[in-house]
């Protein structure tokens, strides 16, 4: 569902105030760079956009979520500090990104999401979503949220659930009905559309949860543990769905314990531990091992492998392995957690730069 051009134009104009501007296409379009020209193609209609439909925004990618010195202290009834859940978090999530928030239990990632959604109020600092304070309900018009568990009304059936959430967006009845049908098909629960949610399995409840998060065709989707409770096939489907949403140009903030999920789908990640940001950057750069060269090939004979070994030796290289030389996100994550526990305090973060390999003395 594309935004009306006028509304979008207004937003872009607001965003570009005082900043150098360049041509930019509305949401749901892709840009092809041809020698000497920039063409904007509508993803939906697959046609060239007219100049009138192309608007200007700031040169930097639009920041969808911004936190500045965000802190959260939980207090008891008497105002005494119970726990400092978040310590000075600075974060920017840009339009079209699939951003992963990682951390062990109690690291502050759910608190961060709740602060972004306005479910909690910051003790210090600020959060803005689409340039508005997190407590401003108008931001919710452009947000879809899938909670950690399917916190839905169990006495409603799937149709009633989606219809109810659709009404909260003031979607007209006709459009709402169409959207409900589309989403029920998308999450594949047609066979149970009139069954009360209390009769749903956990996997089905996650699907309807995702459907309700998409009822307004949001620009920003916040997914809290989206694959929890799903079987391997469900996990795969969920990941495919997330990637499909990214292809549609949605901004996605995802928080998960399942590191492989994050590694599979996220563009950028932030790792939190004990309420502090420990690492932030692109997944591919963070996972890249700088001084190791990986060559992937198929159909090599033993002689060819021997020849490769020889070539490496001739060039004074050390052959580490001939198998798949890769690291995992899990390894990186655990390293960071161990590092953090060994040396409490803030860790220097270089966004987009691979971490410098360090060896701790045994």
């Amino acid at each position: 569902m594309a935004n009306p051009p006028n509304r979008f134009r207004q937003r872009c104009v607001n965003d570009s105030v005082g900043l150098p501007a360049r041509a930019f296409a509305p949401r749901g379009s892709c840009t092809l760079v041809v020698v000497g020209a920039v063409l904007h193609v509508s993803a939906r209609s697959r046609r060239l956009l007219l100049p009138d439909e192309v608007f200007t925004v700031s040169q930097a990618p639009e920041v969808v979520i911004r936190t500045r010195n965000l802190q959260k202290v939980y207090r008891d009834f008497w105002g005494r500090q119970k726990v400092r859940a978040l310590k000075s978090l600075d974060l920017e999530i840009h339009r079209g990104e699939l951003f992963g928030l990682l951390g062990p239990n109690g690291s502050g990632k759910t608190t961060t999401i709740k602060l972004i959604l306005g479910l909690l109020f910051p003790t210090e600092g600020e959060v803005t979503v689409f340039g508005r304070p997190a407590t401003d309900v108008r931001k919710n018009e452009r947000i879809g949220y899938l909670p950690e568990e399917s916190y839905l009304y169990r006495f409603l059936n799937a149709e009633e659930t989606l219809d109810f959430y659709g009404r909260l967006f003031n979607i007209p009845a006709k459009e709402r009905k169409k959207r409900v049908d589309e989403l029920i098909k998308l999450v594949r629960i047609e066979h149970a559309r009139r069954r009360q949610l209390k009769e749903y399995s956990k996997g089905m409840a996650r699907r309807i949860g995702l459907a309700q998060a998409l009822i307004n065709d949001p620009e920003l989707i916040i997914l809290d543990e989206p694959t929890t409770g799903l079987d391997p096939i469900g996990v795969r489907e969920m990941k495919d769905m997330i990637l499909k949403l990214r292809e549609q140009g949605k901004t996605i903030l995802m928080c998960s314990h399942r590191l492989d999920d994050v590694q599979d789908v996220c563009d950028r990640i932030a790792i939190l531990h004990q309420g502090e940001l420990k690492e932030l950057g692109r997944v591919d750069s963070l996972l890249k091992v700088a001084d190791v060269t990986e060559i992937r090939a198929t159909g090599l004979s033993d002689e060819a492998k021997q020849a490769i070994r020889k070539v490496i030796a001739e060039h004074h290289g050390d052959l580490l392995t001939m198998d798949n030389p890769t690291t995992t996100l899990e390894e990186l994550f655990l390293n960071i957690v161990q590092d953090s526990e060994a040396r409490p305090g803030r860790r220097s973060i270089r966004d987009g730069q691979p971490p410098v390999a360090t060896k701790e003395p045994v």
């Binding site: 939980y74 207090r75 105002g79 709740k114 959604l117 306005g118 479910l119 909690l120 109020f121 003790t123 407590t135 309900v137 108008r138 919710n140 018009e141 947000i143 949220y145 909670p147 568990e149 916190y151 839905l152 009304y153 006495f155 409603l156 009633e160 109810f164 959430y165 009404r167 909260l168 967006f169 003031n170 009360q196 949860g209 309700q212 307004n216």
Partner: protein, 638 residues
């Protein structure tokens, strides 16, 4: 039915009430903002608290202004679905079951059966609906917060004002549905309970010669068979087809129109009797019971307007001098005044709107006079008094005194016929026949009439206020009045739901239920709280009483002036002031009930309904805004 407070006309009540309401809202708003600030200061310091409170107030106002009815209705629809899926309609089934077994303990043959039946159905439905809706509405939001379902709602563009109002509307709608179902079943139950027929054996009917002032005639008189453990005497004038049961054997009316006002009742009702004659065969048909389920419309004395010198009730003191107040005999309702017996003292009611069209046969008067005895007298016989009708435009046109006997705590009914003996204006020593509306000397002129009451027993007193004497006008529809009774319950429902939803915005389920129940129940005792707040006459307030207990001082003696006494009494003044404010801020739940009117067979006046409705709205609005304010400042995920 005794009206304890004078009923002001709605439009005269409204300006004063609006002023009080605005003041109450202001006090509430200041108190709430002060508490928020204070709490914020303790937790985060003054600067942050001030900033947060300012932001919160701005957000609250903004949310109210940008309120979306469609979203509120979506939340209301959800609340209704929630109630229905939680089997709230079981309450209706339970009510029907109660009615099915009610016949075991309700007796339709009882003299006060109509009152008992109506009280029973009104009380039972009110109790069931109010309790169930209180539970549902107090539990809904805390359950959503505890179950975190609220996360998926507040992360949509929903404003807290819509969440709170949506819930109030939703639960009120469900309660309304329940009440509507119950009222239909109750109406059928009550009407069917009293529906019975009698039969008349024509052979038992006999002719009786009646000697009356207006001429002798022959009546047909007889008795019905026994049904519902009673039988009726009846009387039909010979040659006429229609008659009624339970006619007094003396004082026979002169025409068919006069039959009804003169009728008596057995077990609170009477029947119409029709005589039919076909092919020489005579039969008698007895109609359904009448006079039991009624909605009588009383006409009260005109409303006071001191600016124009118009008063509904004035007095003559013991010397016969006009005055606005009678004597205060002490420990009684302050607004009732008393007149002394066998003196020049009198109470004079001034009526308007008395027309021959409304009262073609005469004036059915009803009085609820208080009797104050300075000596025991003949305690079983009541105190003697007399009534006199006076033309307000020409006081020389007046009736002779009509004697009556008033008893404590009972309603005295007296029918003033269309023509009665009066004083000859030209020669007060003579009496002449006067007509209420016609003739040379009509007692009623331009619809106005004065009715004068005197007490005839020496050293005894009659006490009265304006609503204590009224004329019964035409009967209204019982069905409509029954519906008004349920409307009264509906208004209580709105208040209970608003209270429960408001408390549920910051308390968890069980505590919210208790708080709402406490608020509702104390609403039935506002008068008592006001009396406590006004300060007890003996022994002081709670602190002073405690001080007296500890120091073993008697209750009736004054405390000697000392610092302790000053501190104790100052604390009591403070408590009493707070209690006074609280009493005024509590909804008067008892005052919202129209059950007394309905069970007493009186039509609920429109002014009363309007006042009650505005009172409910006046409470519901601040409760809604307060709930919204609290929820707006609450971290639902904390």
């Amino acid at each position: 039915m005794v009206i304890e407070n004078e009923l002001p006309p709605f439009w005269e009540w409204l300006p004063g009430a609006l002023g009080t309401w605005a003041l109450g809202c202001l006090i509430l708003a200041v108190a709430v903002v002060a508490i928020t600030l204070l709490f914020g200061m303790v937790v985060s310091g003054p600067a942050v608290a001030w900033r947060q409170t300012r932001y919160r107030l701005a957000a609250v106002v903004k949310d109210l202004l940008l309120f979306s009815p469609r979203r509120a209705l979506a939340i209301a629809g959800l609340a209704m679905r929630e109630s229905i899926r939680r089997r709230v309609l079981v309450v209706f089934v339970l009510y029907v079951l109660i009615l099915l077994f009610a016949a075991w303990f309700l007796d339709p043959a009882d003299q006060e059966a109509a009152r008992t039946y109506l009280s029973f159905v009104l009380f039972t439905s009110a109790f069931l609906v109010l309790v169930v809706m209180l539970l549902l509405s107090a539990l809904s939001l805390p359950t959503d917060i505890a179950g975190r379902t609220v996360y998926t709602v507040v992360t949509k563009p929903v404003r807290t004002s819509e969440i709170v109002l949506g819930r109030i509307i939703g639960f009120t709608a469900i309660g309304t549905m329940l009440l509507a179902l119950m009222s239909v079943v109750s109406y059928v139950f009550v009407v069917r309970a009293f529906d019975h027929r009698h039969e008349i054996d024509p052979e038992q009917v006999r002719e009786v010669k009646v000697y009356a002032d207006t001429g002798d005639r022959i009546d047909l008189r007889g008795e019905t068979n026994d049904a519902f453990r009673h039988r009726h005497q009846f009387s039909i004038r010979k040659g006429s087809e229609h008659g009624v049961t339970d006619m007094p054997l003396v004082d026979t009316p002169r025409n068919d129109e006069e039959l009804n006002p003169h009728r008596g009742v057995v077990q609170g009702h009477w029947h119409k009797v029709t005589r039919r004659e076909r092919n020489g065969q005579v039969s008698y048909e007895v109609g359904p019971p009448e006079g039991q389920l009624v909605a009588r419309i009383p006409i009260y004395a005109r409303h006071d307007n001191p600016a124009q010198g118009r008063y509904g009730l004035t007095f003559l003191d013991r010397n016969g001098t006009p005055t606005l107040k009678g004597i205060n005999v002490g420990n009684e309702w302050t607004y009732r005044s008393y007149i002394e017996g066998q003196t020049g003292a009198a109470a004079i009611w001034h009526f308007e709107g008395i027309t021959p069209e409304r009262f073609p046969n005469g004036l059915p008067l009803q009085m609820t006079l208080r009797v104050f005895r300075t000596h025991k007298g003949t305690i079983t016989e009541g105190v003697n008094g007399s009534i006199r009708l006076v033309n307000p435009k020409n006081p020389n046109i007046r009736s002779t005194f009509i004697d009556f006997r008033a008893k404590e705590y009972s309603i005295y009914e007296h029918f003033i016929p269309r023509t009665l003996r009066g004083v000859d204006p030209n020669n007060p020593a003579n009496t002449i026949e006067l007509d209420l509306f016609a003739g040379l000397y009509p007692l009623v002129e331009d619809g106005e009439l004065k009715i004068e009451i005197r007490c005839n027993d020496r050293a005894q007193y009659f006490g009265m206020a304006k609503p204590d004497l009224y004329i019964m006008a035409a009967e209204g529809s019982f069905l409509m009045n029954f519906a008004k009774g349920y409307f009264g319950i509906w208004m209580q429902l709105v208040l209970i739901v608003s209270l429960a939803v408001m408390f549920s915005t910051f308390l968890n389920g069980a505590v919210a239920i208790l708080a709402a129940a406490a608020g509702g129940i104390s609403g039935y005792f506002t008068r008592m709280i006001e009396e406590i707040a006004a300060g007890p006459e003996y022994g002081g307030g709670p602190i002073e009483s405690f001080y007296r207990i500890v120091t073993r001082r008697p209750m009736a003696t004054e405390l000697e002036p000392s610092l302790t006494a000053t501190v104790v009494q100052s604390l009591d003044y403070g408590i009493e002031a707070v209690l006074g404010v609280v009493a005024r801020m509590l909804p008067n739940m008892g005052g919202l009930s129209d059950a007394d009117w309905v069970t007493s067979g009186f039509d609920v006046p429109t002014d009363v309904l309007l006042i009650q409705f505005c009172t409910v709205i006046g409470f519901a609005i601040p409760l809604y805004v307060l709930g919204h304010y609290i929820l707006r400042g609450r971290e639902v995920a904390a």
